[in-house]
Structures are given as structure tokens and as C-alpha cells.
């Protein structure tokens, strides 16, 4: 059960134009940096990207917007990216904005075989327009459907060759759910180890979900808002 591929280029080599992708990360924290760089080198276009955010102008998914590889974004918050806003207002880019918790749950549902669920989020707002609503126990809920993708690109801290993953800090965010909701799941890790080296008690994503794994290189881990206190 060895899922190791040589590098990011090999991991993404069969992603076709027009594919639907999930990309883990919150802001620039826990994003698949190596996978994004490989997608840009490959030049694949017409992508639908499901990701909580859209990066910044010169990092993360923002880099793929600059090269016009993204046709459609499905996100909850896209406020840090001037090029994104320009493409959106000019109609070059389609965007679907989804409440963050609904996005997380739709992805989770996609991976867990739950085709739809009722949530209170967004009832009475434009998010609920055209969707089925129902009263349950005196409160109104909106029916939301699962989300799935052709490929999911996730980033973990450590992984083994069988695809078991451990995340670090708040770099976990959307990665565990996305790792369950792609037909092909590509994991990049900072440390790649042999089976048995990770404590099974600590595994966040069991290897069953992961199709390919590789050791990423040269992580920049850019910080959006570097805030410090003087000691």
C-alpha cells in the first residue's frame, strides 16, 4: 500500500482542464503550496476551485487567478485579494460564496456519503434563495447539498507512505474534510515517514482517504497578518 509519488508535478499530472478541485487551507495557513505551484507549471485551465479563501494577490490560489486558470471559485471569504475582486466585478470569474460552516459541512457530507442536510445557517438570506426550507421543532432550516471534487489537494504536517496524515496547529482547518471528498486525494506533507513511525492514536486522516502522497519542498508558509507583542 505505497502511495508515494515523486513530487508535486507527478501528483497533479492527470488533472485535466475543467476539473473541480478542493484545496485545503484557511487564509494562507495549511495550503497545498507545492500542489498549487505544480498546477501553475502545468498550465491547466478552466478550473473550479473549492477553497475557504482565494489566497492573496501573489500567493496561494491568488497565483492561479493571475494566470487565469480558475473559471469558478467556491469560497466563504475572499477579502484579501485585489485581483480576485477585479476579475469578479468584471465578470471574468464566477464566484459562489457559501457560509464557512456550511462549506465545511457540505465537504464533510460529500466525503461521508450524506447527500444533503438541514442547517439553520443562511435562512432568510440570499444564500437560501431557491433552496428547500423546512420547519423542524419550530425553527426554520435550509437544505444544503454535499460537495465533492475530482481532485482534492491537502497539506499535512506529517504523513506516512500509506497516506496516514497528522496536521499541525490551525493548519488543519479544511484539510481533513477535503481529504475525504475528492475522487483522487493528493496529500503533500512536510515530513514523510515509514508506516509505524506515526502513533496511530494521533492520526487525523486515516490513509484510506488518501490516493497519493509526496514530501513537499521549500515551504514558504507566508503569514498574512504578522502580529506580535513586545516581550
Amino acid at each position: 500500500m505505497n502511495k508515494v509519488v515523486k513530487n508535486a508535478d507527478e501528483a497533479v499530472k492527470d488533472i485535466p482542464n475543467g476539473a473541480t478541485l478542493m484545496l485545503g487551507g484557511f487564509g494562507l495557513c495549511g495550503i497545498p503550496e507545492n500542489g498549487i505551484a505544480a498546477l501553475i507549471r502545468k498550465g491547466v485551465t478552466g478550473l473550479t476551485c473549492i477553497s475557504n479563501n482565494a489566497g492573496v494577490d501573489d500567493f496561494g490560489i491568488g497565483l492561479m487567478l493571475k494566470t487565469r486558470q480558475v473559471k469558478r471559485m467556491i469560497s466563504s471569504y475572499v477579502g484579501e485579494n485585489a485581483e480576485f475582486e477585479r476579475q469578479l466585478l468584471s465578470g471574468e470569474l464566477e464566484v459562489e460564496l457559501i457560509p464557512q460552516g456550511t462549506l465545511a459541512e457540505r465537504v464533510r457530507a460529500g466525503g461521508a456519503g450524506i447527500p444533503a442536510f438541514f442547517t439553520p445557517t443562511g435562512y432568510g438570506t440570499e444564500v437560501a434563495e431557491g433552496k428547500e426550507t423546512r420547519e423542524i421543532g419550530g425553527k426554520m432550516y435550509v437544505l444544503e447539498k454535499w460537495l465533492k471534487a475530482d481532485f482534492a489537494l491537502v497539506k499535512a504536517w506529517k504523513g506516512d507512505t500509506m497516506g496516514n496524515l497528522i496536521y499541525k496547529g490551525t493548519a488543519r482547518n479544511f484539510n481533513p474534510m477535503m481529504a475525504t471528498a475528492g475522487k483522487i486525494v493528493i496529500a503533500e506533507v512536510e515530513e514523510l515517514v515509514e508506516p509505524g513511525e506515526l502513533d496511530p492514536n494521533q492520526i487525523h486522516t486515516p490513509g484510506i482517504y488518501v490516493s497519493r502522497i509526496f514530501k513537499g519542498e521549500n515551504y514558504e508558509k507566508r503569514i498574512e497578518q504578522r502580529t506580535v507583542t513586545k516581550s
Partner: protein, 218 residues
């Protein structure tokens, strides 16, 4: 004098109770963390997957893998825990968070809130705000009474796309603390040295001055 943003945060901090799990939004709400009373046990939830959020790090502690919902570098306190975004919003939608403080662009006299979109102008997205207002019972909105153009943000009805319907019951602005009930803003506390006339002039929605109106203590 109307309150500054720090004093608004200070007033809202008086609503904290021992043992609360609290979610603080971006902007003025974040400042509430600076005024948690000494000795009170309050755990801060950051919706990107952290309970037990601590202060900003010193330079040597900065960790790119540890940020808050505003994408700022933070630290973890003893007893902190980390989890996925799905777990985080399970806590929020499942009403496990005791208090949410968030900002707003408009509040209506029926408790509607708008804070995520200005059509044709600003398209940043709602982030976690719609989930927070849809499920949390205990929400306080922290904001200025008027927008930068001087127009009231307490309205008969929201003009911007809604974040949530009839879900806000308490608002603290630079002029006062309001309860929303029976289709009106009930002014229960007024900022020190602010005249009721100023509140009236800057409230477009239905305003009721409480019989027990108090001057805000800070």
C-alpha cells in the same frame, strides 16, 4: 462623549461570565479579549479551529501554522485544543459557544443583521458570520452607531443583503447599549455625557428609551 472602540469593548466585557466559551469577531469584538476581568475563566474560540486562544506571540514564538480567524498570528494557552473547520462549526451551530460578539454594517429593529456584502462595491464574503448568527442564542453586536457618512446603522429595516433574520437581541455602540425586543431598539444604558437627543437623532429605527435608563459604567 461617545465611546471609542476600546470603551465599547470594555463595556461588552462586562457581559462575560466565568466558564464562558466565547467567539469574538474581527474588529472591535477582538478587543474584548483585552478586558476579561482578572481571575475570570473565559475560553476564546477561533473559528479556524482553536479553543484556548492566547495573546499575540512575541517575535520568537511566531508560528505560521497558528493563526486566528483574522489571519493574525496568535498563541495557545494551557488547555488549548485544535480541531477542523467542520468541528469548529459543529460547536457554533450546535450552540456550544456561550457568547458571540461580532460587528455589523446594519441592524434592524426586528433583529435582522447585515454585515457581509455591499452589492456592486464590496464582495468579501460572509465567512463564518451567517453560521454564528443562525445558531448562537447569546449574541452582542459591537459597532459604531453611524457609518463613516454619519448615517444611522440602527434602522427600521436593513437595506443591505442580510446575514441573519431576527437573530440579534443586544447591540453596544459608541452611544449606548440596546436590547432589541417587540420591534424596537430599547436604550437601556447611555454612554457617559451623551444626550438622549443625540441617540434619537442617530437612530433611524424605532427607539424606546427605557424607564430605567442608566449611564454606562466602564
Amino acid at each position: 462623549m461617545p465611546l471609542d472602540k476600546f470603551s465599547i469593548a470594555k463595556r461588552i466585557a462586562k457581559e462575560l461570565r466565568d466558564g464562558y466559551y466565547v467567539n469574538l469577531g474581527i474588529g472591535i469584538p477582538t478587543l474584548v479579549a483585552n478586558y476579561i476581568p482578572e481571575g475570570m475563566d473565559v475560553v476564546l474560540q477561533s473559528e479556524n479551529g482553536l479553543l484556548g486562544m492566547g495573546p499575540f506571540p512575541v517575535e520568537s514564538e511566531v508560528d505560521a501554522d497558528l493563526i486566528n480567524a483574522g489571519k493574525q498570528t496568535v498563541t495557545m494557552l494551557k488547555g488549548a485544543s485544535l480541531f477542523s473547520s467542520a468541528d469548529s462549526f459543529a460547536m457554533i451551530r450546535g450552540s456550544h459557544v456561550d457568547l458571540t460578539v461580532l460587528g455589523a454594517m446594519e441592524i434592524a429593529e426586528n433583529g435582522d443583521i447585515a454585515n457581509w456584502k455591499i452589492p456592486g462595491k464590496m464582495v468579501k464574503g460572509m465567512g463564518g458570520a451567517m453560521d454564528l448568527v443562525a445558531a448562537t442564542e447569546n449574541i452582542i453586536v459591537a459597532m459604531m452607531q453611524t457609518n463613516p457618512k454619519g448615517e444611522s446603522k440602527l434602522l427600521p429595516a436593513c437595506t443591505l443583503p442580510l446575514t441573519g433574520k431576527a437573530c440579534i437581541t443586544r447591540v453596544c455602540t459608541d452611544l449606548g447599549f440596546y436590547e432589541i425586543k417587540d420591534g424596537a431598539f430599547h436604550l437601556i444604558e447611555i454612554a457617559p455625557d451623551v444626550m438622549v437627543e443625540e441617540v434619537k437623532a442617530k437612530t433611524l429605527g424605532k427607539l424606546v428609551i427605557s424607564d430605567n435608563l442608566k449611564v454606562m459604567e466602564l
